[in-house]
């Protein structure tokens, strides 16, 4: 089966690659383009560790047909910091010790980023809803929720 050409913007840069027709976005990002930020956790859409933003909306890269991303804007945690300056969510995750093994962290940050972009002052309930598709097996979620609530009050939190 011939591979298909694919171009999109990844974290602000134009990228191009070739994919198998049924390839998912996760494999394309990780093994095609070398962005190891999104993780493989299930391939089923049940864990959220591959969450990325597609045109600003959260999507699960493992269930996203790669070719459906032609011409679109993909953002991952790898591109979240502005040079050496961390995103307020990244700062808040550090301050609140909101990561242990760190495997769910990229997906959590992306889910939180999608929330704050639309809802800069979320309630606790809204934060809980925003991360409800993301599994964390280490922290019991509490420090993650606290970090997102704290980041919402920090300047620059809406920075996409």
């Amino acid at each position: 089966m011939a591979k298909l050409p694919l171009q999109f913007r990844l974290n602000g840069s134009d990228r191009a690659t070739f994919v198998d027709p049924a390839s998912n976005l996760l494999d394309t990002l990780r093994r095609g383009l070398g962005d190891f930020g999104p993780k493989y956790g299930c391939g089923q859409g049940t864990c959220g560790v591959c969450t990325v933003l597609v045109d600003g909306e959260p999507q699960l890269a493992c269930l996203t047909l790669a070719v459906s991303c032609e011409g679109r804007q993909i953002e991952t945690t790898s591109g979240m910091a502005d040079g050496p300056n961390l995103h307020p969510l990244q700062d808040a995750f550090m301050d609140h010790f909101a990561a242990q093994c760190g495997f769910c962290t990229p997906g959590m940050l992306t889910a939180a980023r999608a929330l704050l972009a639309k809802n800069p002052q979320p309630s606790r309930e809204e934060v809980v809803e925003a991360i409800s598709g993301n599994i964390c097996r280490c922290t019991g979620y509490e420090p993650i929720i606290a970090a997102i609530l704290a980041a919402a009050n920090a300047p620059g939190a809406r920075r996409a």
Binding site: C42, Q44, T46, C47, F97, A99, Q100, C101, G102, F103, E125, V127, V128, E129, I131, S132, I135, R137, C138, T139, G140, Y141, E142, P143, I144, I145
Partner: protein, 347 residues
């Protein structure tokens, strides 16, 4: 519909390190010419914080700032042998090995500084901020960086250390079970407040209150991570989880995180932990290891709280709503136990 509150408790201890010993850990530490230290290990960080625990123990023992220590783990070409991260052995076993290695490196460091300052090494102390000075005379000092440079380029000394920690393997007696199992134990007591729906059998954990004795706390933020995350796992084990929902019938196993039940971020119970520190005589700075035990008291405390709430004993984990509902039907309804105490003393 009726919801019934109940309260239960449990107290436990937990052994630290592989049960019979025989589980060595090694550490190698060396300085670069600028007085920055690398700790080479084969320990594993699964999220429990092995790298940072190792870094703090090394920095404390070396007497240098934490930023001047980097833990490099795990590469079998550079990191010496370690049994691994399990059995609550990381902090205890590896921590001790790091202390031994760091003491050796510190010894060379102080000798090199003594040579530069023309004093006796025994009279030198570190200030933990990158300086070495004569005891009681902070002005007669040299930086760790200058010392390391002198050691490397002038004196020809290796500021390095090696360490192993091993509790020798014990045998077990076949007939009595006599053995030398563990040298350190951590302790805990936990109170769970629950609410049980008598029509659906659903349990809501309202709050939990606990006290943990963990020996010396190496890093309180990381202890909090373990205890809070572990309590969540305890609730999960108590009420939700199993890959064989109808054990020992092996059918209907879950295939994903939708079918494998665990509490979501909307199921979190407020939790208060008090930490006690009774140092372990052979632990690194008295440290034990909170990683494994933090789920254990939650399971029976919740089971006992469910019994206190509605009078149903569920002796088979997990305590599913179905098992409670079947128990209520068998009992002919709710049989609440005595009220225990008042509102908790924390917010």
């Amino acid at each position: 519909m009726a919801r019934h509150e109940g309260r239960g408790m449990a107290s436990v201890n937990y052994p630290i390190g592989m049960n019979l010993g025989g589980d060595p850990s090694q550490a190698l530490i060396h300085s670069n010419p600028d007085g920055k230290f690398t700790v080479a290990l084969s320990a594993i960080d699964l999220g429990q914080g092995m790298k940072q625990v190792s870094r703090q123990i090394a920095a404390e023992t070396l007497g240098v700032p934490i930023e001047d220590v980097y833990v490099d783990t795990a590469d079998s070409d550079t990191g010496p042998h370690d049994m691994g991260s399990f059995a609550s052995r990381g902090t205890h076993r590896m921590g001790n090995a790091i202390i031994v290695a760091a003491r050796e490196a510190r010894g060379v460091l102080l000798e090199a500084a003594a040579e530069e300052l023309e004093v006796n090494a025994a009279d030198l102390v570190t200030d933990g901020r990158g300086n070495i000075h004569v005891r009681g005379a902070p002005s007669r000092s040299i930086t760790v960086k200058a010392t390391a440079q002198a050691a490397q380029f002038k004196q020809g000394k290796t500021i390095a250390g090696r360490g192993i920690f091993l509790i020798p393997l014990s045998a077990v007696d076949a007939e009595t079970g006599e053995m030398n199992p563990n040298t350190a134990f951590a302790h805990a007591c936990l109170v769970a407040d629950v609410c049980v729906d008598d029509e659906t059998g659903e349990v809501e954990v309202l709050r939990m209150t606990s006290a943990y004795e963990l020996g010396r706390v190496i890093n309180p933020r990381m202890v909090e991570q373990q205890l809070v995350g572990g309590a969540w796992m305890g609730i999960s084990h108590a009420l939700y989880e199993t890959p064989e929902p109808y054990y020992p019938n092996p059918e209907h196993g879950p295939r994903d995180f939708n079918e494998y039940l665990m509490p979501g971020p909307g199921d979190i119970a407020p939790y208060h932990v008090t930490v006690l520190e009774r140092p372990a005589p052979d632990g690194p700075f008295g440290g034990k290891g909170p990683g494994e035990m933090c789920a254990n008291p939650v399971l029976p405390a919740i089971a006992n709280a469910v019994y206190n709430a509605v009078g149903v004993r569920v002796d088979e984990l997990p305590i599913t709503p179905e098992k409670i509902l079947r128990g209520l039907k068998a009992n002919g309804g709710v049989k609440p136990g005595p009220r225990r105490g008042g509102p908790v003393n924390w917010r």
